[in-house]
Symmetry: D3
Subunit: 237 residues, 6 copies
Amino acid sequence: MEFQYQNSYEVKDKIDQSKIAILPIGAVEAHGPHLPLGTDNLLAERLSAKLAERVNGLQLPTLPYGQVWSLRNFPGSINISNDALIHMLVDIGESLYKQGFATFAMVNGHLGNGTALKEAARALYETCPEMRVFYFFYPGMNQAAAEVRETDSAHSTYFHACEIETSYMLYLAPEYVEMDKAITDIPDIPMHADVTPTPWEEFTKTAVLGDAKLATKEKGKYIVDIALENMVKLINM
Amino acid sequence: MEFQYQNSYEVKDKIDQSKIAILPIGAVEAHGPHLPLGTDNLLAERLSAKLAERVNGLQLPTLPYGQVWSLRNFPGSINISNDALIHMLVDIGESLYKQGFATFAMVNGHLGNGTALKEAARALYETCPEMRVFYFFYPGMNQAAAEVRETDSAHSTYFHACEIETSYMLYLAPEYVEMDKAITDIPDIPMHADVTPTPWEEFTKTAVLGDAKLATKEKGKYIVDIALENMVKLINM
Amino acid sequence: MEFQYQNSYEVKDKIDQSKIAILPIGAVEAHGPHLPLGTDNLLAERLSAKLAERVNGLQLPTLPYGQVWSLRNFPGSINISNDALIHMLVDIGESLYKQGFATFAMVNGHLGNGTALKEAARALYETCPEMRVFYFFYPGMNQAAAEVRETDSAHSTYFHACEIETSYMLYLAPEYVEMDKAITDIPDIPMHADVTPTPWEEFTKTAVLGDAKLATKEKGKYIVDIALENMVKLINM
Amino acid sequence: MEFQYQNSYEVKDKIDQSKIAILPIGAVEAHGPHLPLGTDNLLAERLSAKLAERVNGLQLPTLPYGQVWSLRNFPGSINISNDALIHMLVDIGESLYKQGFATFAMVNGHLGNGTALKEAARALYETCPEMRVFYFFYPGMNQAAAEVRETDSAHSTYFHACEIETSYMLYLAPEYVEMDKAITDIPDIPMHADVTPTPWEEFTKTAVLGDAKLATKEKGKYIVDIALENMVKLINM
Amino acid sequence: MEFQYQNSYEVKDKIDQSKIAILPIGAVEAHGPHLPLGTDNLLAERLSAKLAERVNGLQLPTLPYGQVWSLRNFPGSINISNDALIHMLVDIGESLYKQGFATFAMVNGHLGNGTALKEAARALYETCPEMRVFYFFYPGMNQAAAEVRETDSAHSTYFHACEIETSYMLYLAPEYVEMDKAITDIPDIPMHADVTPTPWEEFTKTAVLGDAKLATKEKGKYIVDIALENMVKLINM
Amino acid sequence: MEFQYQNSYEVKDKIDQSKIAILPIGAVEAHGPHLPLGTDNLLAERLSAKLAERVNGLQLPTLPYGQVWSLRNFPGSINISNDALIHMLVDIGESLYKQGFATFAMVNGHLGNGTALKEAARALYETCPEMRVFYFFYPGMNQAAAEVRETDSAHSTYFHACEIETSYMLYLAPEYVEMDKAITDIPDIPMHADVTPTPWEEFTKTAVLGDAKLATKEKGKYIVDIALENMVKLINM
């Protein structure tokens, strides 16, 4: 149920019955030739819809701007600072708390938002002590992805516009994928990328970190459904 | 053309051809029994689409959270501070500037955002001197609304979920209007509401500031089209 | 009664008897050839004195620096950021609250301060819940000015060094007006001035927005006295 | 010459001829039974007038609010945070720099403002490299006061509403002194007042730190004139 | 070579010859019964000494306070906010840049500092464009630790006062280890610890995440030496 | 007893028995040819150790970075802003309060930190009302130094790498003093150094403000022991 399409007269009851707010948050960022700039928004939004249905949650409008420092110099990327993001998320969370929500689940579609979401959650931990705040980024996906991937990951934590993320899109938002444009571009990510600020143009021209051609809806479904189950369990715990 | 559905390979040319970014910005806020919480988002988004078409602009994803101090205590309202909003808008604007845009037009669907948008525009005036930044809130609507309205306005600058705003919705997003639930509730807004912080629950229980029953698509079209023409002129000047 | 000329031994009783603090706030800003840079300070201060007398308020020393972004490039203008202004006003308000005041009335002589005053009042609404905070800018003047003015207003909300403001000065601080230098300069304020940052040097060389020659003490008295009555009513409500 | 009484047409020439801006800054603070709350404002303002005359400077309107942490709990005190004060002073300084001033002399009448003034001056040192910024607090007064005082100082750096400050008032603003109410109250300031936050109510009920009865105009003139000479020399160096 | 034991006359030449500043940064935090609160400081400091020797770097004094949100409620923990830490690191970095350093290597002994160090490095990337900034946390340790550890890790990224960290201490600072007090306490870290703010007292009473009894100097040396080699390579690249 | 060498199991009892935390804070700053950059750290640390012993306090790890604006352009100086320093000190203080400390004594080895320490103490006065916070900088040293010094002080409040500070080092950290390199360099500090931002390179090339050759361990002991006694008294009062 989408929160913003409710009216003010009826929403109070719905909040009372659900108590769970779900915020999709993504980014506008280069995702290679075959995926749109808004890939992370689409993923977050559609995964949130599935989650809302499963836990009887109220889905908030997508916050479509995120922290994309690493790819900010690529065409189309829009980069938000962590400070701005944290501030807005804390404001949203505090409003939800006053509105009577007991759970605020941020469903993140973009790894780069992770720092801001965790910081916002810790701030809300102080100011809204009785509200649980989640920052989800495909919980449990690492193991699941390892099971289905046919190529090695280009990096221990990054994945981007690759076999994995493209599979997510084929499952959740296939109408936005142009598989005929998918490419294979496995970069050699230098070790220093983990220990010094390293814009991604240093090691990729495509913003694709892997073999997008190997993406399938099935792989996407396999991983995303596991992440979804995990989110359901965590919210219901 | 929606920016986030472009891919990174093609978007650079499209930016170069357009140079115009259009950001819809609204809010999640009580709008009475007949309009959804996301009314301002829907209006901003659809008006932006029309504007983008007219000026060959690139429409950014909607920023769906705004400053709703006055109605923050009504069911469903989500309130963002001016500081958070300004920070995010400045970050977006600076990214657009680096991406090569020459015009950043914020299409605002919620009066309460006005302060933040103007402040953000002034900040960008310093940091992005060659980019024009607009903060639009239905430019020219006051005169146009005066021509078509059948009831007096409840306030010199506020209008909310009333004859006017409901008409906008009937024109731009009719599928979200439940006219059978529309009410007439013309509040007596006290003079002190203009000179001291005054939550709207002091003078309205409905959040409707007028006679929503009198709304028509035609009134909405009349005013909104004038505002649209004004925006087109201003961007093209 | 001017607060700063009281001594610490006697002021406690006076605060208890009055409970009303009145802060004049103006600006240092270009006001054409016939009015001094400190026009807004003089107006705020003298209007505050009248108000203090009427409501038995304690008049604080004038805060003589304001936000003059629009005219900041004119000779003599001193521009303060909204953030600095808000911070100082909140500090003043919180001190007054601790001192036992129940009403903090900001009497503003400069339109550009409006945003900061409203924000400060909202901040104090949270931290000083039992103190009423007013941000007055000639309440009710729009209608009154329409009744007496002989020329059209150059803008729907701006008035500056014109028939109206010069009349205020002829009423409140005539010794600082040089009517022989008064000019007529009705600018054509472009529509974009309302929707994009627009320094006033784009449309005026004089900083006079109208026909200062038509100013009279009587016009000033008519409008200012109405504003004064309104302030008295609002404080006493 | 008072800056705010100039008009915008003529002030540019006056700035060019003077290049020196003088800002009086004081505070609203308890000063015992015989001196008004605005003592520091009066002193700063009148000393500034003398200085302006001596160096052909332009005297800005007095900033009448300062940091009075130590006496904030006394009746009538209004306390501003260092942060607010620094922000406003930096804004004023940057405006003066853009207006063409080469010297910005802050004439401080309240010891507690010292930290903020020094910090503001250092900030301006970076942003306005070609403007000299002074933070004056009676330069050279320590030695001069030692020569004329008849009682020991209650503290190595503090003096307040005592023989010395009352003498300043008798010289600079005698009409605001009520010598018949002057008292002798030499507090025993504990050593810990220098090393831990210590509101002055811990050691004084009067806010007078000494023997105000011994104040004379002559003592005030002696010290203040030396301070004035020092300021003149420093500005002209 | 320890920077702070140099004198100002000779240090300029040493900076010119080295160009490399090495900052140990740790924390004060509970580390179980067998390790001191300052474990992370000791590790960072001694590893930095080895690194400084290898790359001819200048070792700065240890910054001994870090972000320990997760264990802040344990006896002895001192928790610094990310904002304070970032601000201080940026200030240090900018000073080093002005002093002529070309490399600023932060050697981090505490995982919780990671966010602040990365943010600080990104800020310095803008303000000190020609200085390389590293945030090291035992680079390459994950694989090396997997090779030597005899127990499974309690968590995919956390390790604390366990087989691994105790081994580091036995290698780098054995005089501070009380192996006779070492315990085995392998907590069951709940899945939600990764997605919602979770103070560690929820799953451990000891703050030991593993089997400290299995720690040996050899294991520590094996991993730390690999990390050291990696740091040397990264700095020399 | 050094806090960071305690373990988490035993430290709680030690906090309960002591209740006193002692934080040495210094700086990295040029101190002439005969003293190391870390002089203020060494002094603060060793004086803290003596103090801890006397009052049964727990000595925290030294915060080795301070505000050195005046000497920031000298080789080896590392300058921290007041804001960063205040933020970190407040964070440390609030953690200590939660840990059960009743006294937080900052032992400052560097005059330039004074402003930040006082501000931090005032902030903690609000947030930790039951903890006493001290900012010590050799309390009582002025009189004691006057008794033993053989040369006049170069300045009324500054002393640096001179007869006095070198004596402190000869008493507290003699192994870091190279007396054979000590010089005599009594600068003529201009009056404007007290009233306008004045980097010390304007009046000294050595950073020595006096005659370091006259330093003796005895002088250092005389003054430092008096300061130590004063700190003991103040903490025990």
